[in-house]
Structure formats: C-alpha cells, structure tokens
C-alpha cells in the first residue's frame, strides 16, 4: 500500500513536470522560439525547494500552499492509474468520482485562504476571478460527469472504466466529451479560459507572492494536479489505461490537444469566459445528457 502510493506520487510528479516542460517547449515552437530544455522544470522545482522565502506574512500564508498540495495529492491518490489489477490504485477503492470532484476544489480553497491572508487586494481579486471561472468550468464538466455516472450506473471510477470495454465513452457520448473537454482546457490552465496567476493580468497572484520553497510546492502541486486531471479524463472517456505505456500515450494525446488549442486562442476575460461556458458547453452537455 505504502509503496503503491509512493510510486503513484513519483509518477505523477515526473509526468506532471515532463508535460509542463513539453508544454513550454511546444508553445515556444509555436511562437517561433527554441524554448527551454524539457528538463528545465525539474531543475527549477529542485532548485526552488532549496531556497528560502524572503518575506513572511504570517502562518496562514504558509498554510495555504500546504492545503493546496494536500488537495492535489489526495486527488491523484483517489484516481486509479490503470483499468485493471490491484496495483497503482491508491485509495480509489475507498472513494469514488464524487470524492475526486470535491477534492479537486480543496486546492483552490487553500490557495484562496493563503493569498487572502497576505493582504494584497489584487491577490484577493485574482482569487475571486479564479473561483468565478471555476464555477463556469465546473458547470459543463459536472453535467458531463453526471451523464457518465447515470450511463454507467455507478460513481466508482474503476467500474466506469470497466463499462468502457466495448466502446470508449468518447465514442458513446461524444457530446459529453466535447463539453467536458472545453472545461478541461480551463482546468488545465490553457487559453481561452485561463486565469493567469502571474504578472500578465492578476499582477499580484499566488505564484508571485509565494517565493522559494513555497513557490516550489505550488509548482509541484500544480504539475501533479495537471496529471491528475489528465488521468481523470483518460479514465472517464478513453477507457483508462491497460499499462503504463498506454497511460503515457493516452494522457499525452489529451495533453497535446489541450496545448494546441491553448496556443491558438487568446485569453477571454473572466466574465466573457464564464458567460461562454454557461451558454455553449453547458447546452452541449445538457443535450448530451438527454441522450444518456
């Protein structure tokens, strides 16, 4: 059990940063740059873990990233990696999809508390934008997930994967997939639905205020969390992975799709993106739900 969990976390950490490196590289090529080496994100993470934070704003400021990281780790540990067998399942037999969906919001809550305690009004403003966007993203995603749960007759992720033996859900419920994928773009922090944490707009966002090892923790948890979301999408719509190679291929395809879309579009403002998410993807998801 302990070893299983450790391997899961190491896999999530490595894949998360690998994909982050690839993302930086691919975007650079799209922009006509060379970009950093793929391993740069690993170096950054390890370097930052050895650095200190220069300014302290009290204990809540530190507790924020820790709650955030706990949320990300719990999310990844409640999603089984493979669609068969007893290895790499973590705690998933003690939970289900609803538990995972709710652990996904524990991170933003910790982040919000940490940033709020800092006292910079712009930080709190960014948090509200982030949380507002989160509502918008959750709406189509939740409807899609509800559709899948009703269709498979269970909320257990392993059983949802098992129900896709014949046809993947992406084929069986294409409308639900489209709606979920649009939300997924935002969950992955890709345009057009992203809220940037750093200087671009929310100038005093989380990634700016946290420095040193807390920045490292924030980055690591976001890498692990991204992997958890890829994993969840693969499990829900692509039938899960038979083995680790399959896992890499499927998550990579999904990741690539998100990166390409993200690179093509510009960013919408929060109200624009939520407005859009409440309209088109939500309607697509509701139509998809009718067909279940």
């Amino acid at each position: 059990m302990f070893l299983d969990i450790l391997i899961m976390l190491i896999l999530a950490y490595s894949f998360g940063f690998l994909y982050y490196g690839l993302y930086r590289n691919i975007s650079a090529r799209v922009h006509g740059r060379f970009g950093p080496s793929i391993a740069q994100s690993f170096y950054d993470s390890i370097k930052l873990f050895t650095k200190d934070t220069s300014t302290s704003f009290g204990w809540m400021f530190y507790a924020g990233p820790i709650i955030m990281a706990s949320g990300a780790l719990m999310t990844v540990l409640f999603i089984p990696y493979l669609n068969h067998g007893d290895s790499l399942i973590g705690f998933s037999e003690y939970g289900n999809l609803i538990v995972v969906l709710y652990f996904m919001v524990l991170g933003p809550l910790g982040n919000a508390l940490g940033v709020g305690s800092h006292g910079n009004p712009f930080g709190a403003m960014g948090i509200i934008r982030g949380l507002t966007r989160l509502i918008g993203l959750e709406m189509p995603f939740y409807i899609a997930v509800i559709g899948l749960m009703i269709a498979s007759g269970t909320a257990d992720i392993a059983e949802i994967m098992a129900s896709q033996k014949e046809t993947y859900n992406i084929v069986a419920h294409p409308l639900l997939f489209i709606a979920a994928f649009i939300s997924f773009l935002g969950f992955m922090g890709k345009s057009p639905f992203d809220v940037v944490g750093a200087p671009a707009e929310v100038y005093s966002g989380p990634a700016v205020e946290f420095g040193g090892k807390f920045l490292a923790l924030t980055l690591s948890q976001s890498a692990i969390f991204s992997f958890a979301k890829l994993l969840l999408m693969v499990n829900l719509f692509l039938g899960g992975a038979d083995n680790l190679v399959d896992l890499v291929v499927k998550t990579f395809i999904l990741f690539l799709a998100a990166v390409f879309v993200g690179n093509v579009y510009g960013r919408l403002t929060t109200s624009q993106s939520v407005d859009f998410l409440f309209k088109i993807p939500t309607v697509i998801a509701i139509v998809g739900l009718m067909f279940v």
Binding site: D52, T53, S54, T55, S56, F57, G58, M60, Y62, I66, A69, S70, M74, L77, F91, Y94, G95, N96, I98, V99, Y102, F103, V105, L106, L109, A112, L113, G116, G119, N120, P121, A124, M125, I128, L131, T132, L134, I135, E138, M139, Y142, I143, I146, I150, T154, A155, D156, Y203, S204, E209, K213, L217, T270, S271, D275, F278, A285, I286, L289, V292
Partner: protein, 540 residues
C-alpha cells in the same frame, strides 16, 4: 386535549434543538429573554412530539409568536411586519389544511387519518396549503421574503436559533406530513416535480444573492435559504435514501449554521461591526475563531473530509440513482457557487487588511462564544470521519414512519449500492498527507522576514498611502453581475412580486372601505333591499 407521542423523528429534531439551546445558554447576550426562549423550546417540543394536528398547530403558533417577541426586541417595524405577515399566512394555510383534512377524513389524529379517501383535487389543495406553511418556515422562494431581514435584525443568538432550528421545523413537517400521513401516489406525479425544482432554483438564486451581500449575517441568511433549498429538493424526490440524505443535511446544516452564526456573532460582539468593508484583517487578532470559521466553511462548501461532504454525497447519489441528471446538475452548480460566498465570509472578516485603527483595542472574545462553536466542530469532524455513525438512528426513524431502511455497512462507510465512500480513510489520508508536508516544511530552516507593516506589499510599484482602501471586502463578488445568468438572478427579486400582491390587497380593502363608509340613507336602503330579497326567498 393535547395528544403527544414519542417518535424517533421527534426525538432527533428535539434532541438537536435541545443541544443548540443548551449550548447557546451560556453565550453572552445583551438582549436575553429566558422566558420567551423557554416558551419557544416548549413550543418546539409540542410540535415535534405532537400526535395530532391541533397540537401541532398550537405549537406552531406559540413558536411563531414567541419568536416574534424575541425579534421585536431588536428589530425595526418593517422587519416585524414582514415576519408577522408571512408567518401568519403560513399559520392560516396550515389551519386551512387541517380543517380540510378533518372535513374529509373526520380526524385530527395522525394515526387515524386515512388520506386515500380524500378526492384527488382536494388532496392537491390540502398539499399545496401545507407546502405553503412549510415553505414559509424553511424560506423557499418566493416565501423567503421575511427570512433575511429577520435573521439579520434579531439578536445574534436568536439568528443562530432561527437558522439552525426554526428553519428545520419546515423540514420536520415535510417529513411528517408527506411521508407518514399523506402518502398518496398522485402527489408524487403532480406537484412534487415542481417542488423539487422550486427547491433547487431557490438554492441557486439564494447562493448568488449571498455572494452579492455585504453583511455577514445577511450572507449567512441567504446561505441558509440555499441549503434548505437542497433539503426540499431531495425530499421531493421521494424514497428512503432521499429522507436519509435530507436528515443528514439537516443535522449538518444545523451545526454548521450554529457554528457560523456564533462565530460571526462573536466578531460582532467585540467589534460592533458586521459589514465586510468595516471588518477585515482580524486573523492574527482572533486566530482560534478564524480556524473555527474555516472548519465551518469547509463543511458548508461540502469539501471532504468534514461532514458537509457526507450529506452532499447522499444528496447526489439519490439524484443519480433516480436518474434526475438536470436536477443534480443544478444542485451541483449551486453547491459549487457556494464556494464564493464561503470565501467572501472568511476573507471579509479575517483575511485582507484591517480597515479600522481600533482593532488593537477590541476586547477578547468571551469564552462562552466558543462552547457552541466547539460543539459544532465536534459534530462535523465526527460525522466526517465516521459518516455511517448516525445511519442506524436514521433507520429507526425510517422504520417508524413506515419506510424501508437504508444500507448500513460500518460506521466509517456511507453510501448506497450506487456508490459509497470511507470517511475514516479520507480523514486519515488527508490528515497524514497534510502533517507530512507540514513537518517537511517546518523542518526546513526559514529565515523569512515578517512583513514590516500592512503597506509592505507590491502595489503597482508604489507604496500605498494610509487612506487607500486595501481591503477587498466591499466589492468582492460584485463583478459577477457582469455574467449574464448572474445578472438575471440579481436583477430579479421577490420584492416586486410581493409588492404587487400587497397592492392587490390594498385595492381590495379600498373597495371594502367604500362599502363601510356610505351614508346612513344608503345603509337603510341596503338593509331594506336585503330584507326584501329575504322575504321573497322565504315566500318561495
């Protein structure tokens, strides 16, 4: 005259009320009225243990009036008018329904009422009347009009009682009436679909109104309306698991709101402020109160590992099993949006920047304020770790009202065939992960310098001046009104509806007045005409 019976359902509701009242007994309160509070508790006992409708109605009335006099100690006339009009309306609706039930079945006693003899049309009328009474107490839109003002204007202890206990009387009446007495099939097909949607629309609208609110107690009042909306929705779906979910959420909501209202009350007690733009930055002044509030909002938002998740989980699985996808989507939407007002509450009071220079001179929070809060936290943590622990109690309630009992595996596991989760593992795993990360970070040496003062922040490359407002308590959530759907919700309010209805009543009373104000000759003529008609009718 009055008939009582001891039922598991009554025991549960009265036990909760007793716990809440006792925990609040010690809290410092400037406007305490022991006589009225004990009258209120007595009336609750009367409602929860009644075995006939007359006892229920008398208890209902005493509850309404004793609450009225408690609210009247602090509230203004407008609030009281709203309260009394709505609660009298509810009482009349209840009385009307009771009389109709007696007329149709010939009995006031629960166990003797055979509702199957009542014709369908009359059955629906009776049910609608009863639902109106329930909706007023639980604050389902559009009958919530009195709720927010009364919660806000009554003293801080009584706000907690209103939200934690009085609003649950509606839930009790719903379970008692529609699961034990009126159990006809046609109701489920006709009006309960509408009731389910009414509940969820209530919760969505109230959630966004709460986000837009600038005052802590009003925010909590709207949140209360939203949470009761879920309970009504889940009850209207019918079935054993739906009652289980509703009862679970009732328990959780009672203690969450007890915790949150008393937490806010403590802040209002020491600072005499309740607006978010005049509070803020109190985290390091009152750290224990802050942690208690965070526990409360985690449970309110339904995030694991606390009990708020357990009840939300049950609500979701019921709706999934019944294949009510759209209803569930709406519930989840409201539940996800609840995050924003939860954050606004904690940010507005404790996080951000101090807005007043006198914060340092605020007194300590009296210890008595912690008693109800700690009781609330204990219940939430215990029900989060061992979510199954109250399922046997719910089963005894279910069997006592003639429903099937629900699945029970162990105290750690909650759920049905559809899905289940292990609260112990979740709490344990999260605790271990949190502590491991914490220890890892505590162990690393940190030479961070404490920020010098509140202006030591990055602020557009400048140092903010003392008169710059650095607390985001006021505007928070306002920008949501740029989103089309939210704008639609915020623009509309039940105020217009009730204004129009009150106008109709005013017009009608004007016409009545004209009849009474006519001259003596006309009255004579009227009397003459009346007797003439009577004579003709008699001759015939």
């Amino acid at each position: 005259m009055f008939n009582f019976e001891i039922t598991p359902l009554g025991n549960m509701f009265f036990g909760m009320s007793l716990l809440v009242f006792v925990s609040l007994f010690f809290v410092k309160n400037r406007d305490r009225d022991l006589m009225l509070h004990s009258l209120l508790l007595g009336s609750l006992a009367m409602i929860f243990y009644a075995s006939d409708f007359i006892t229920l109605f008398v208890g209902w009335e005493i509850m309404g009036w004793s609450s009225y006099f408690i609210i009247a100690r602090t509230a203004d006339v407008k609030t009281l008018q709203k309260y009394i009009v709505f609660n009298l309306g509810a009482a009349f609706a209840l009385l009307g329904a009771i009389i109709l039930i007696y007329g149709a079945t010939g009995s006031f006693i629960y166990s003797e009422i055979d509702f199957s003899v009542v014709p369908k049309g009359l059955g629906i009328v009776i049910s609608v009347l009863l639902l109106v009474a329930i909706f007023v107490k639980s604050g389902v839109m559009p009958f919530h009009y009195w709720v927010v003002d009364s919660y806000d204007k009554s003293n801080h202890i009584f706000s907690a009682i209103l939200s934690a206990i009085i609003s649950k009387v509606g839930i009790f009446a719903f379970i008692l009436i529609f699961f034990r007495i009126i159990t006809t099939e046609y109701l489920q097909e006709s009006i309960f679909d509408i009731v389910a949607w009414l509940g969820v629309i209530t919760s969505i609208a109230a959630t966004f109104k709460a986000i837009n609110e600038d005052e802590a107690k009003r925010l909590l009042a709207y949140s209360s309306i939203a949470q009761l909306g879920y309970i009504i929705t889940i009850l209207a779906v019918f079935g054993s698991v739906s009652i289980e979910g509703a009862l679970y959420h009732t328990v959780v909501h009672t203690f969450v709101k007890l915790l949150l209202f008393i937490n806010v009350a403590a802040i209002i007690y020491v600072s005499r402020e309740s607006r978010f733009d005049r509070l803020g930055g109190l985290l390091y002044k009152y750290p224990i109160n802050f942690i208690l509030l965070v526990v409360g909002i985690i449970a309110l938002a339904g995030v694991p590992p606390l009990a708020g998740f357990s009840s939300k989980f049950l609500i979701y699985t019921v709706l999934l099993e019944e294949k009510r996808g759209l209803l569930l989507a709406a519930v989840m939407f409201s539940s996800a949006s609840a995050f924003l007002y939860s954050y606004k509450l904690v940010y507005g009071i404790y996080l951000g920047q101090r807005t007043s220079d006198s914060v340092d001179s605020y007194p300590k929070i009296p210890v008595s304020f912690y008693i109800p809060q700690i009781i609330g936290v204990l219940v939430l943590v215990v029900l989060g770790t061992t979510p199954g622990v109250i399922v046997p109690a719910f089963n005894s309630i279910l069997t006592s009202i003639g429903m099937e009992s629900v699945a029970y595996e162990s105290i750690f596991v909650l759920g049905s065939n559809f899905a289940s989760f292990n609260g112990g593992v979740i709490m344990g795993a999260l605790g271990i992960i949190f502590v491991v990360i914490l220890l890892f970070f505590v162990k690393l040496k940190n030479r961070a310098v404490r920020a010098r003062d509140r202006f030591d922040i990055s602020y557009c490359g400048e140092i903010p001046k003392a008169d710059v407002n650095l607390h985001y308590g006021y505007g928070m959530g306002k920008e949501l009104s740029r989103i089309g759907l939210v704008k639609l919700i915020l623009k509309n309010s039940s105020h217009t509806l009730w204004k129009r209805i009150s106008q109709i009543f005013a017009d009608a009373s004007n016409i009545m007045q004209r009849v009474y104000n006519i001259s003596a000759q006309s009255v004579g003529l009227l009397i003459f005409t009346f007797f003439t008609i009577l004579l003709f009718v008699g001759v015939k």
